[in-house]
Symmetry: C2
Subunit: 201 residues, 2 copies
C-alpha cells in the first residue's frame, strides 16, 4: 500500500471524515507546500505528551491545574458537571458562565457496560465535601446531554447529591434558538412546556 493510500486510510478513520473527504484532504496537502504537512505532523507528535488532564476538574490542559481551576477570579461556589472535556470549551464559548467545571469522562450507560464507578463521580463528591468555608461549593449545574444516558446520569447525581445540601440544577431543555415549533419533535416540545418560564405574574 502506498503512502498516499495509507494516509487516505488513516484520515478516513477520523470521526466525520469519509473515504472521499480523506482523499480530498490528502490531495490538497500534496498540492500545498510541504510545511503544512510537516507542521501538522509535528503537532500530532507532541499532542499526547503536552496535553494532560487537570487533576482537579479532569478537563484537557497543558498545565495542571488547568487555567479555569487555577484562576482566582472564577466563582468557586458553582461547579458545572459535563460529560467530556470539549463540553467545557463549548460552555466557555458562551461567556455566560464564570464558575468551575467537573468532567465526568462519560455517562452512565448500562448497554455499554458503563456504571457510575467508571466516571469521576466519587471525585466530584470529594470536591464538594472537601470544599472549605469561603470557597464552598454551593451549586452543582448538571450539564450532561439531554439524551437517555445523559438524563440517567443527571438523575443519579441528583439523588447522590441530595444529602450534601448543595443546590442542584440542570441545563434547560426546550426549543433551540431560531428553531420552529412546527418542526420541533414531541419530546422537545413537551420539555419546553414543562420547563416554561414565567414572564409576568
Amino acid at each position: 500500500m502506498t503512502v498516499l493510500d495509507q494516509l487516505i486510510k488513516e484520515f478516513s478513520r477520523l470521526p466525520g471524515i469519509g473515504k472521499k473527504s480523506a482523499a480530498r484532504i490528502v490531495y490538497h496537502l500534496l498540492r500545498t507546500n510541504p510545511e503544512t504537512s510537516m507542521n501538522l505532523a509535528a503537532l500530532l507528535n507532541t499532542l499526547h505528551d503536552s496535553v494532560k488532564t487537570c487533576s482537579i476538574c479532569g478537563s484537557y490542559t497543558e498545565n495542571d491545574p488547568c487555567e479555569i481551576c487555577s484562576n482566582p477570579g472564577r466563582d468557586g461556589s458553582v461547579v458545572c458537571v459535563v460529560e467530556q472535556s470539549q463540553d467545557v470549551q463549548t460552555i466557555e464559548s458562551t461567556r455566560e458562565y464564570n464558575g468551575l467545571f467537573h468532567v465526568l469522562k462519560g455517562v452512565i450507560s448500562p448497554i455499554d457496560g458503563i456504571g457510575p464507578e467508571d466516571l469521576t463521580i466519587r471525585k466530584l463528591i470529594e470536591r464538594i465535601s472537601s470544599s472549605r468555608h469561603g470557597r464552598e461549593i454551593k451549586e452543582v449545574i448538571i450539564a450532561t446531554n439531554p439524551t437517555v444516558e445523559g438524563d440517567t446520569t443527571a438523575l443519579y447525581l441528583v439523588r447522590l447529591l441530595a444529602h450534601t445540601g448543595v443546590k442542584v440544577s440542570r441545563l434547560a431543555s426546550g426549543l433551540p434558538a431560531g428553531g420552529d415549533i412546527e418542526y420541533a419533535d414531541r419530546l422537545t416540545l413537551t420539555r419546553s412546556l414543562q420547563g416554561r418560564t414565567t414572564i409576568s405574574d
Copy 2:
C-alpha cells in the same frame, strides 16, 4: 496558543473540515491511543518525499513512470485527459477503462489567470505526436468536469487536436444514475436530450 488549539486550527484549514469537526477530531485523537496520532504524523512527514508526479502522465505516484504508464497491459491507443490527479483514481474505480491518462493540472480559467500555457497541454501534444507506430495514440477522451471552465478547456483541446487526426471524445453529460427527471436542472436535462442515445432504429 496551546498545542490543542494549534492542532484544531491546522485541522480546520483542511478542505471540508470546519472548526467544530476539527475540535471533534483532535479530542478523538486525545482519547485514542497515541500510536494513531504518531502514525498519522509519520505518514504526513513522508508524504511529500515519497509522492512524485509521473513524468509521462503527470499523476501522483511513488514510482516514475506510474503504475498505469508502465503497465504493458494497458491500451496505449487511448488517452483520457483529466483535470487533476485524483480524477485518475475516480475513473480507475469504475474498472471500465483500460487506456492511459493525461493530467492537465488544472483548467483554463481566465478569471483566475490560468491560460492553456499553465496546463500540461503542450506535453499532451508531444505525447500524441511522438507516439510510435504500434503504440500510436488514436483517441483522446476529454474528461474535464462539466463546468464552464471544464467545457472551455474541452473546446480548446478539440480545436487544438483537430489537425492531429486523432479521434476526440468527451464524457457523456446527462442525468446521474438513480436521479430523478423531476429534480434535474434545466442544463443537465438539455444536455441529456442533446446527447440522447439510440436504443433501436
